[in-house]
Amino acid sequence: MVFSSPTFLFLFLPAVLIAVWLSPARGRNLLLVLASAGFYVWGAQEFLLVVVLSTLADFFLSRSIESAREGGDDRRARLLLIAAIVQNLALLAWFKYASFGVDQLNRALGELGIETVGTLSIVLPIGISFFTFGKLSYVVDVFRGEVRAVRSPVDLLLFVLLFPQAIAGPIVRLREIETQLTDRPLREDMLARGAVRFSHGLAKKVLIADTIAPVADMAFASAEAGTLTTTAAWIGLLAYTMQLYYDFSGYCDMAIGIGMMLGFNLPENFDRPYTAKSITEFWRRWHMTLSRWFRDYVYIPLGGNRGSEGRIARNLVIVFLLTGFWHGAAWAFVLWGAYHGAWLLAERRFGLRTVEGDVALPWLRQGAMFLIVMLGWVLFRAEDLGLAIDYYTVMFTPNGLALPGEMRALLGGPAGPVLVGAALVALVPSALSGGRWLVEAAGTLPRLSRTATLAAILPLGLLWTLTSDFSPFLYFRF
């Protein structure tokens, strides 16, 4: 089930919201686990059983880790942690990377003239990367003593399966919602803020991302067909850059909004990433929960910023190669990660790691950052290296300024103005953007603005969901 489907919006969500409010506090977790299981089954069927069993394994292992630590048996705790990490990573490796690995093996064997080993066809369960990282953070945090092992399997299942965040993030760590699992009053202010946030997310997804998506689709389809022009390539890439942001951040807004309406405060995942003035800053604003996860569970354990420049560079490269690989089992994603890692290294080398505060030539810095990020998205969208190279070739070897008639017609419709508006909003500095103010500011004017926005945008967004058949969120496949 996806957040923008009529089934979710008009049946599942209202039914769950009403059931949760009407149910006594002590039954809410079980109710939410059952609802989340239903939500997950809709998209992944029997894989739910694998998730449940793996979570129960985490439950017992984490309890054992905690007992071993409290008993002073660090070696046993470490072994149990390794077992927990292996069982989680094994699932991820099998479902997400085994086919890719076998393909690479076959390619290598083919090069050597040795008989290949056949192919694997494994369906990728939705959201596996997200909840695996959530589960991993949990067992590691228990080992580190940063959180207590969860006492109830229902609570742990809720942490893993909680439907607003289970399949496309944000990546939640137990410490972020630990108290809410057991004590979660439904406060009026959270209900209202949740509704506003949810509406914003829905609008971002169906009114903006889905409207400009055909521009990007057309450009990449033209690249595949060999008919892409330079102008269309740049416009198509700008469209994809905006589509990805509004789609993914829209999903996260909806997740956070639904979470609020259910009593949870889920972590933020985006902070106006295209206003960053360096790649370093970009990664502190884009998919923030993933960046933090890699920082806390890979980068710092590897040594982080300690040690020589060479060692730091090695750590950064590892983190960004893994970041790329996390997004997909394809060399294009690995290259995309390496591309970002390389820019981060360059920023360290030349002292351009601006994160906050006044900098010289801010617009130029932001423009450069935006261009770098945008070019990286070609690898991300193309997935296939050959297609990405073709796309870059057209972008940088001008073959005419004229736009193909089909794209001109498309941009003449709602996609054109929406793309321009979306780009302007995404690129203006935070101080000039009204989004955060609209959601969070106190006072009569913000409240009136919120109500007016909600009154207009939510019905429109909901109506639009009725007009489009299935339109999945981009980050579901990761």
Binding site: P6, F10, W42, Q45, P414, P417, W464, L466, F470
Partner: protein, 485 residues
């Protein structure tokens, strides 16, 4: 009470959201139902067995089932379509082109230039059809109905007419120009263009069909094709009563739009021509103009003006369901829109075959040198070896290669249902002859093989893949009346 007001105000966004989320479900429970915009049956509920629940298709099916039952989807589609069409002038459908002043054009009219060009020459097909009708004692009239993009071309977007549409217009103009000398092909398009030149709209703005003025010309053309002067005798014309149509092109753009036109019909008291011998073959315009009930009391033009006339649509013709009506008819009137012209080769063979079975031609002979060792019988027939493909040539001293001809090849002897395949070589240009029989059941039927002017019968070979026991009769040649101008 004093405390509950601010609380309610604080909760207002939340209550608003919940109310909207619940609205379709509540409306459904209250009995509100939506129309399926796409003119199809609602998707049914998928089976919900335990094994089905492990299949992704089940959930996709449930999504579709729910989507088709939630109220307001049709209203949502309409709203979105209106925003796109009237707000942005944007066509969400690749099949619809938006012209000046939001006139809509159907890009299917560009079919001959978008990979679906006819394999055979449609002009030849019309000539064979009208010729076959005449030599079999029938009259067949073909009424090409000029496309909207051609007749109302001033409404096309000035600088963005797709090349395929321009190409299709040229195809259509060439088709009609070449048929201008054929007395069985009235020039309706010229009449429509005359009206347009006078500032009269002939096509509806958001639809592929005609306005009152265009419809009037069409109805008159159909009735006069059955009997010259019939339309005037019946007083056919606009009747001053409006009829509502749901526009078809806006539907592609998800907009529910209604257009109104006056009905076109005979005088209320006019008595029509008994028309048991008439067959109408047509597309949607024939349906709207002639066959659908209109006015009050409701009646059809067919029922009033042509009582007893039969009707076939093009799919029925293609599938052979029209064959008995083709045989029974003495007067046939055919509406030809662009897609029918493109598909003409499909229906053509059936009609020519049906009409030529009761026709005899001039006796010709099989060229003995071509029979591949098969002995000719005394009556000129031959029995090819079972499973042996024969390539036969005809000897006809009276052959007139300046005229279109149809060769009839009687076949008999094979068991009922056994098929014999027949083929005529393509022209030098590479296009095969239209309207040829491709296979016969050999139960006393004759293969019908048209040969166009400019081709010598003696130079042509007919390939026969015989059914077991087939006996191929001596060929007969029918020379068709001169048609092409």
């Amino acid at each position: 009470m004093i405390r509950s007001r601010p609380r309610l105000r604080r909760l207002l966004p939340f209550l608003w959201a919940v109310a909207l989320l619940c609205a379709p479900g509540v409306a459904y429970l209250a009995g509100v139902r939506q129309e399926i915009f796409e003119n199809r049956a609602p998707d049914g509920r998928p089976p919900l067995s335990l094994s089905a629940l492990s299949e992704p298709d089940t959930y996709a099916g449930l999504d579709a089932f729910i989507r088709d039952r939630l109220p307001f989807r049709d209203d949502a589609l309409d709203l979105r379509g209106r925003v796109e069409l009237f707000g942005f002038g944007y066509s969400a459908s690749p099949a619809v082109l938006i012209g000046d002043d939001r006139w809509l054009f159907y890009l299917d009219e560009a079919r001959p230039c978008t990979g679906a060009a006819p394999v055979t020459d449609p002009v030849l097909a019309v000539n064979y059809l009208t010729g076959a009708a005449r030599v079999s004692g029938r009259e067949a009239t073909f009424i090409p109905a000029g496309s909207k993009a051609r007749v109302e071309r001033e409404r096309l977007p000035r600088d963005q007419v797709p090349a395929s549409l321009r190409c299709a217009r040229a195809f259509e103009e060439d088709f009609e120009r070449r048929l201008r000398g054929n007395p069985d092909v009235p020039d309706l398009t010229a009449r429509l263009e005359t009206l347009v030149a006078r500032g009269v709209r002939t096509f509806r703005r958001w639809d592929t069909h005609w306005t009152t003025a265009g419809n009037n010309e069409f109805v008159r053309a159909v009735l006069d094709a059955v009997e010259p002067g019939l339309a005037r005798r019946l007083g056919v014309g606009p009747r001053g009563v409006d009829r509502s149509y749901q526009a078809d092109l806006t539907t592609f753009l998800r907009v529910k739009a209604i257009e109104e036109e006056e009905i076109v019909a005979p005088e209320p008291d006019a008595v029509g021509r008994p028309s048991e011998d008439v067959l109408l073959i047509g597309d949607s315009q024939m349906g709207l103009s002639i066959l659908e009930e209109q006015g009050s009391p409701p009646r059809t033009v067919q029922g009033q003006a042509l009582p007893g006339a039969k009707y076939c649509n093009w799919p029925q013709l293609h599938e052979g369901r029209c064959d008995p009506l083709l045989v029974a008819a003495r007067k046939v009137v055919v509406e030809l829109v662009m897609r029918n012209i493109v598909d003409l080769e499909r229906g053509c063979g059936r009609a020519v075959f049906a009409w030529m079975q009761e026709t005899r031609g001039r006796e010709a002979e099989w060229d003995p040198a071509s029979t591949g060792g098969t002995d000719l019988e005394r009556d000129g027939s031959l029995v090819p070896g079972e499973g042996v493909q024969s390539t036969l040539r005809i000897t006809d001293p009276e052959d007139d290669p300046t005229r279109d001809r149809i060769v009839l090849v009687p076949m008999s002897g094979a068991p009922v249902g056994a098929r014999t395949q027949v083929a005529v070589p393509a022209r030098a240009s590479g296009r095969p002859e239209p309207c040829s029989t491709t296979d016969v059941s050999a139960a006393g039927e004759a293969a019908v093989l048209p040969v166009g002017r400019g081709r010598e019968l003696a130079d042509m070979s007919f390939t026969v893949n015989p059914a077991p026991g087939l006996r191929i009769g001596a060929p007969q040649v029918v020379t068709l009346p001169d048609a092409e101008g």
